[in-house]
Symmetry: C2
C-alpha cells in the first residue's frame, strides 16, 4: 500500500516545472540539482510523462522540458495514475479482462471499490497549482525546492 518513488518523483518533477513555468524549457540537470534525484532516473520518469502528453520536450542545446498545460489543469491524480497505473487497491478492480473468478459473489469487493473511490477522489481534488502555492508559501518565494 505504497506509492512508488516513480510516482512521488513525478509529482515533485511536475511541481518543479510548475514553479519554473516561464515558458522556457527546463533541463533535467537543473531539476536534478534542485530535487536531489539523478538525471538518469529523471529521464525514465519524464519519458512517461512526455508520452502521456503532460510535458513538451525540446532536444538539443537549451532544450529540456516544460508543462504542456497550465498548472491548474493537472490534478495530482492525473500525474500519479500515469506513473503508477490506476490507483485501485487490488487487481480485481482494474480492467475487466483479468477479472477475478469470485468477483460475481465476492462480498468484499464493494469494500475495495469504496477504498479505490476515496483514494481517487482525494488525489483528484488537488491540482498542481495548489501544490505550487503550498511550495511558494512554505519556501517564502524561494522556489528551489
Amino acid at each position: 500500500m505504497k506509492i512508488s518513488t516513480k510516482g512521488r518523483y513525478a509529482l515533485r518533477m511536475m511541481l518543479d516545472l510548475a514553479l519554473h513555468n516561464t515558458g522556457e524549457y527546463i533541463s533535467l540537470k537543473d531539476i536534478s540539482q534542485r530535487q536531489g534525484i539523478t538525471v538518469k532516473y529523471l529521464e525514465q520518469i519524464v519519458t512517461v510523462l512526455a508520452k502521456a502528453g503532460f510535458v513538451h520536450s525540446q532536444r538539443g542545446n537549451n532544450g529540456g522540458y516544460r508543462l504542456a498545460r497550465k498548472p491548474e489543469d493537472y490534478t495530482a491524480g492525473d500525474i500519479l495514475r500515469v506513473m503508477e497505473g490506476n490507483l485501485q487497491p487490488i487487481a480485481c478492480l482494474e480492467a475487466d479482462p483479468n477479472e477475478c473468478a469470485r468477483s460475481a459473489y465476492c462480498s468484499v469487493l464493494p469494500f475495495w471499490q469504496g477504498l479505490g473511490k476515496v483514494v481517487n477522489d482525494y488525489v483528484d481534488s488537488v491540482t498542481l497549482e495548489e501544490l505550487a502555492d503550498q511550495a511558494r508559501f512554505m519556501a517564502g518565494n524561494d522556489y528551489s525546492i
Copy 2:
C-alpha cells in the same frame, strides 16, 4: 499502490471466522476449502493475526481458530494494518526515526498526509460485522463464501 494478498486474504479469513462465529474452533482446513487458499499460506497469515491477539487458537484434535472479540469490534483497518503495516502511502509518514531529510521543508508532505488520512479513515469506518452482513445478504444465508 496495492494491498498485498496477505492483507486481502486476512480480511477474507476474518470474515470467514465471523460468518462461522459459533464459539467453536474453526480449522484451517475448513477455511482453506471455503476460501480456496492453501492451508500452508493460511498458516502464515493466521500466525500474524494470533500474535496480534485478533484470534484465539486451540491445538489438537477439533482445534482451530476463533475470533477473540465480537465482529463489530474489529474494523477492516485494524486487520489490514496488522498485515500490511501502517497504511501510509509513503515511507516518510511512518515512524519518525527514518525521517526524510527534506521533511521539514517538503511542500508535498501535507498532500501525502491527507491521502494517508482518507485511506485510514475509510478502512476504519467499516467493521467486520458490516462485511459479514454484506456477505450474508449477497449469499442468501449460504455462508460458504
